[in-house]
Subunit: 364 residues, 2 copies
């Protein structure tokens, strides 16, 4: 199986209100230069670039972001950036991408990736990805998922219980597990047979479409109709008419959990540092602290008697000054400034809803 | 003595680093719209407008601010806005203004005012000012100063001890007093014969020039030379050559304290709320708090579990959001943001010096 049948799909549909005021309705967190110079989507595209050629790279996102993404990635053909008229969860996002790719290349092997995470080192990611593609080349009907060895008893993650060892770092999946409570998460960690479910996959487009047909026939029929119209003048009309009617369901729930129970899902171990940067405190985890524990994406900061603060700005010329404050998040954006203690960051999300109402949709 | 001999001089020379990041080298605190819509200088000009016509209103400031002030007050003749080549303290600022005004009108009566304070109610201020002008009309050699009844034992103010009562709210000055320690300030307050020295005066231009000639002859000679060149082509050349050589000294120390000991200074009681707004906590005193004690000049704020904060922005479209913070100062400016606890605001001044050095003169 030659390299040119490797495709990659990045799912980049989230809004990311917890990263307000940098993430906005008009500019999702994936496009925010959250790391100072780069966005999470920049990172995802770069991370894949060693394994998949840009002409085989797809992004599926909300339609309102398509234009910005087309502009941001001139190396990716514009038609590879697929805009959903509305979000119908991962089963349909993946199904749509699979249908489009399958129509282009019935033998395509596709990886599915998220843009919400920092994954390091990139070399390890690419090595494991290459081995997953290779596995599917040898075993074309496989559904492969990636398992990140857990480093702490995370209750915000789904888990994958591994079963029979099939090769170095390759196992049959015994069972997918919902987000656990703390006790259960600690047991998983101690047990050693559990991975974090990173929500990333490799399979033939034909295989996943076949599984959707079996397990989610309503979606499969709709996606088939859409793909038939894809290279015609009625692409948008058909997409807009059918896609919003598809049942909203995740690929895990619709397909992976069921197929795993039949012993037909493979987990490849991804021994990477894997961080969801969906909130300011989570982002801080990937930033290097100064001597006083302050972390910044802002290029210009000036701190005095200030410890363990998070200082965020995309503007390289804006100066953030903090005197005598600790454990505080300070975020500058051109039209809004946020200050919030690190341990109250979960309030940001609901606040954005309030601001939306009070300020007539401005600032959000 | 007709009204058209009333002149007013606003001294507006200060830099105001304690109001960083709104006050800058290029834009002193007097010009900052510190109250949201208005600057302190706007307030000072408006406060005087009922008593003195705009053609008799002068501003003396650092030369670099002249252009901004000319633009800000089109009603004031541009030649009335006097730029000092460098600050030589109040004796020379007042002396220069007096010399210029005296040359225009040898019978001029001039008031001298600061632009650093909020003085309310304006009606009371104007009523007292009118009575001071009237007093000088009746007693042309008087030096009049204004005494603000103290409301707390302020150690950052000079005081005026009143003596013989000359009329309703009019007293001979017994003695000027330096800034006191806390015990002394408390005694002054309890005693009831002490006023805060507001640094504002009314006198004939001829009278103060005569006193300068007696008590500060070096300055007087220099100012005389400058005034002789004032209406010639060599105004700037002469000012630049002579003014920087004048001895740096305050009008209180050079003139008022000495003349008071001779029993020749009059204090007029100014029963106003009188607030120096030279720092963010001081500014907060003049802002109305919300139910949780938060005070703002920012037009758009959104607060959640936040108490006793000070939220500052000149930009009416910028949204300041504070979650779960108390007693914090948050200041937004286009190129710099400051967060600092209320009780550490005195650190801002030294910080500005550091920023000046580190950031190559930017942001200050």
């Amino acid at each position: 199986m030659p390299d040119n049948t490797r495709y990659a799909v990045i799912m980049a549909g989230g809004a990311g209100t917890r990263l307000w005021p940098l993430s906005r309705k008009s500019r999702p967190k994936q496009l925010v230069r959250i790391l100072g110079d780069k966005s999470l989507l920049d990172e995802a595209v770069e991370r894949l670039s060693g394994s998949v050629g840009p002409e085989y790279l797809y992004i599926i996102t909300n339609r309102q972001y398509v234009e910005q993404m087309v502009a941001a990635y001139p190396q990716i053909p514009p038609e590879n950036i697929i805009g959903e008229p509305q979000g119908r969860d991962t089963a349909n996002a993946i199904g749509l991408a699979a249908a489009v790719i399958h129509q282009r290349d019935p033998e395509a092997v596709m990886g599915v990736f998220t843009a919400d995470h920092i994954i390091t080192p990139a070399e390890t990611f690419r090595r494991v990805l290459d081995s997953a593609f290779a596995y599917v080349a040898g075993s074309p009907n496989s559904l492969i998922t990636f398992g990140i060895p857990p480093t702490w008893p995370h209750t915000g993650m789904g888990y994958i219980q591994r079963g029979e060892k099939l090769g170095e770092g390759v196992f049959r999946v015994k069972q997918f597990k919902e987000k656990p409570d703390e006790t259960t998460a600690a047991q998983y960690l101690a047990d050693g047979d559990y991975y974090w479910n990173g929500g990333m996959f490799v399979w033939r487009a034909a295989t996943i479409l076949e599984k959707l047909q079996q397990l989610l026939p309503d979606s499969a029929a709709g996606l088939d109709a859409i793909s038939k119209a894809w290279n015609t003048d009625s692409r948008i009309e058909t997409l807009d008419r059918i896609f919003p009617t598809l049942p909203k369901i995740s690929i895990d729930y619709a397909v992976m959990e069921k197929v795993a129970l039949e012993g037909k899902v493979i987990v490849v171990e991804l021994p990477c540092r894997w961080l969801d940067v969906g909130s300011w405190p989570a982002l801080a985890e990937v930033l290097d602290p100064d001597e006083a524990g302050n972390r910044a994406t802002a290029k210009k900061t000036h701190l005095l008697d200030a410890r363990n603060n998070i200082l965020i700005s995309e503007d390289p010329d804006h100066l953030l000054v903090a005197i005598g404050v600790n454990d505080l998040i300070v975020v500058h954006s051109p039209d809004a400034t946020l200050v919030c203690p690190n341990d109250q960051a979960e309030k940001i999300k609901s606040l954005v809803g309030e601001i939306q109402q009070i300020h007539d949709g401005k600032h959000v």
